[in-house]
């Protein structure tokens, strides 16, 4: 581990110890050292001793914000920018209260964070996850990815935005998908999920990292994220109280591709 990362860990420890001693928080959601050196473990640290194993490097690249749901206040989260944006989205969608979360941002610049309560500087953060997509518009590429999907829903479980108690895929009435792990079911799942995430994606890349078959359909949502920014001037999770682009309208919205 580099000197740089060690100093970040020290800074985080100081912040958390201080919060514990002042009883501001009762637990910290963070990455800690696991049994295998390269693989960090997500932990809910409940006392200052637990901070010993704190870990911070490139391998700590999983989104954490979803784990805040259902936790009793007050929990601190060691957040990359996408986690902070997800927390703001949870607040906007009435899933969390701002006062119940203490956000410790770790990133290159504090302006990357829509909200934070404490900040530690990381000069070399993870690179932004939005990808150029040479394969955009290619049905062959799309179907090849779809055929690798095993419909395990790991992408859904990783995603901050997929927190519905009953997903449309698991509903019998109306039955959106044919039974089994066929192409139709997989296409309906991925297109349906992408529509649900349109204008809400915080670009953590969790769907891609979580996939056990290496399916890469992130370019679909990336394209919609870009469209929502260009057409509707919206960036998900950057503003408390903002409405999603698809829960909002303007009278002069464009209608590309509509019949005249």
């Amino acid at each position: 581990m580099t000197e740089e990362k060690l100093s970040i860990i020290e800074a985080l420890k100081t912040i958390c110890e201080d919060l514990f001693s002042k009883r501001v928080i009762s637990r910290v959601l963070a990455f800690t050292e696991g049994e295998i050196k390269e693989i960090p473990v997500v932990s809910l640290i409940t006392n200052p001793e637990g901070l010993k194993g704190l870990k911070w490097d490139e391998s700590c690249n999983k989104p954490l914000a979803k784990l805040l749901l259902g936790l009793k206040p007050k929990t601190a989260i060691i957040a990359r920018p996408y986690d902070a944006r997800a927390v703001v989205m949870y607040i906007n969608e009435n899933q969390l209260k701002r006062d119940d979360v203490f956000i410790i941002g770790v990133g290159k610049d504090a302006s990357d964070f829509p909200v934070f309560d404490a900040f530690a500087k990381d000069p070399s953060p993870l690179q932004s996850a939005r990808e150029p997509s040479p394969s955009r518009g290619s049905l062959d590429f799309f179907l090849a990815e779809i055929d690798r999907c095993i419909l395990c829903y790991a992408c859904r479980q990783a995603c901050w935005g997929c927190y519905c108690p009953s997903c449309f895929m698991e509903r019998g009435i109306p039955d959106w998908t044919p039974a089994g792990v066929g192409r139709e079911a997989k296409i309906a799942f991925h297109l349906g999920r992408t529509m649900h995430l349109a204008g809400r994606c915080v670009e953590c890349g969790g769907c891609k990292t979580a996939c056990p078959s290496g399916v890469n359909l992130k370019y679909l949502i990336d394209s919609l994220t870009q469209m929502c920014y260009e057409e509707y001037g919206h960036k998900a999770g950057m503003e408390e109280g903002a409405r999603d682009p698809l829960s909002d309208y303007r009278c002069d919205d464009g209608q590309p591709g509509f019949l005249e």
Binding site: S133, F168, A188, L220, C251, Q255
Partner: protein
Amino acid sequence: MDESELKIIAFLCNWCSYAGADLAGTGRMQYPPSVKIVRLPCSGRINPLYIIKALADGADGVLVSGCHPGDCHYITGNMYARRRFAVLKRLLDDAGFDSDRVQFTWISASEGQRFADVVSDVTSRIKLLKTKGCEKS
């Protein structure tokens, strides 16, 4: 191919487009028999999954129509629908499906002739796609 063999599902709003289709009928205007109409309260009631499921279950095309922007019976339903459809169209394009199979438009209750024209237009577009041998989802 005969136009009656095509299956085009039309999702129409109750207040404008469905009444427009009705007017086309009472006015005895001719349009292709390819279209199967599903009546909904508002274009804002149309879940994008309806469209995806219609295509996945073998429809050749989908036509969606509601009141003209500003004329919605529920004031703003079609405004939300407009964004939703624009995003869905982009998504279908990105995934590589021919988004010509999904058409959106606005038809008011007095536009019976326009309904007939739109159905003819959409039918000929989808017929063209099908004869080209475009892959079904």
